[in-house]
């Protein structure tokens, strides 16, 4: 597991039934592109988050394939529909096989 990986997600606490909310996600990760070289001129191996998914009560909201061209600490912002109260599940997949998870519940106002 890469060091210092910390997911952060911003989801409103409540929403209208069937309403639209904006979700912002960020995960601290160095996203080593595999293009950079160290002082000795050796290529630093690629180590990135290659996939991000967001589901709400088991239904998919967004599924993103990330490539090395995504910046350090990948930030993704998108909109979701909230049909009922429930939980958002966020998952990040690392190149080294680690999976980082975060969940947020939302209530109907």
């Amino acid at each position: 597991m890469a060091k210092g990986v910390k997911p952060r997600v911003k989801v409103p606490k409540t929403a209208q039934a069937g309403g639209t909310i904006t979700i912002k996600t960020l995960i601290s990760h160095k996203m080593e592109s595999g293009q950079r070289k160290d002082k000795e001129g050796n290529i630093i191996p690629r180590s990135i988050i290659n996939r991000f998914t967001c589901d709400f009560n088991g239904q998919n909201v967004i599924d993103v394939t990330l490539e090395p061209a995504i910046s350090t600490n990948p930030f993704i912002e998108f909109e979701a529909t909230v049909p009922e109260a429930g939980d958002f599940a966020f998952t990040w997949y690392d190149d080294d096989g680690s999976v980082y998870e975060e969940s947020k519940s939302i209530a109907i106002a």
Partner: protein
């Protein structure tokens, strides 16, 4: 010095080489586009790609893609050593086919977004971004 026939040929060959460079770069992007569309025709309109005109730091360039009725949006940076940037797939609970992220750009270049619509057609948008400090290498 006289401008001989041999010189003329050399100049011509050099010019052809230079002119050939961007065409080759485009062909590289086309490869990825074709893999995504399966060779289908790519139309214009119906998709917006929002990006700054000038990016001071190529390490983190904010972009936004939006395409109403899209199931997938692919983003390519044609001037990067590895052109693919990201592919967004929208699920049934996505309120809008809209996403924002931050990307790396190696140099001043065109960024292309291609949307796959739910009726199976494809749409393309591109933006030219000037990069002051490149975001790859080091």
């Amino acid at each position: 010095m006289q401008f001989t026939r041999r010189d003329a040929l050399a100049v011509g060959a050099g010019a052809a080489l230079v002119a050939g460079l961007p065409i080759r770069a485009m062909a590289m992007g086309d490869e990825y586009i074709e893999a995504f569309t399966g060779g289908a025709e790519v139309g214009e309109g119906g998709i917006t790609l929002t990006a700054p005109e000038i990016a001071e730091n190529g390490n983190t360039v904010p972009i936004e893609v939006s395409a109403e009725g899209a199931t997938e949006i692919m983003v390519l940076a044609l001037g990067n050593p590895v052109p693919p940037v990201a592919t967004f797939k929208f699920g049934p609970l996505a309120a809008s086919q809209d996403a924002k992220t931050r990307i790396r750009l190696a140099k001043t270049q065109d960024v292309v977004a291609i949307a796959k619509m739910d009726d199976g057609t494809f749409a393309k948008a591109s933006a030219s971004i000037k990069v002051t400090i490149g975001g790859c290498g080091g």
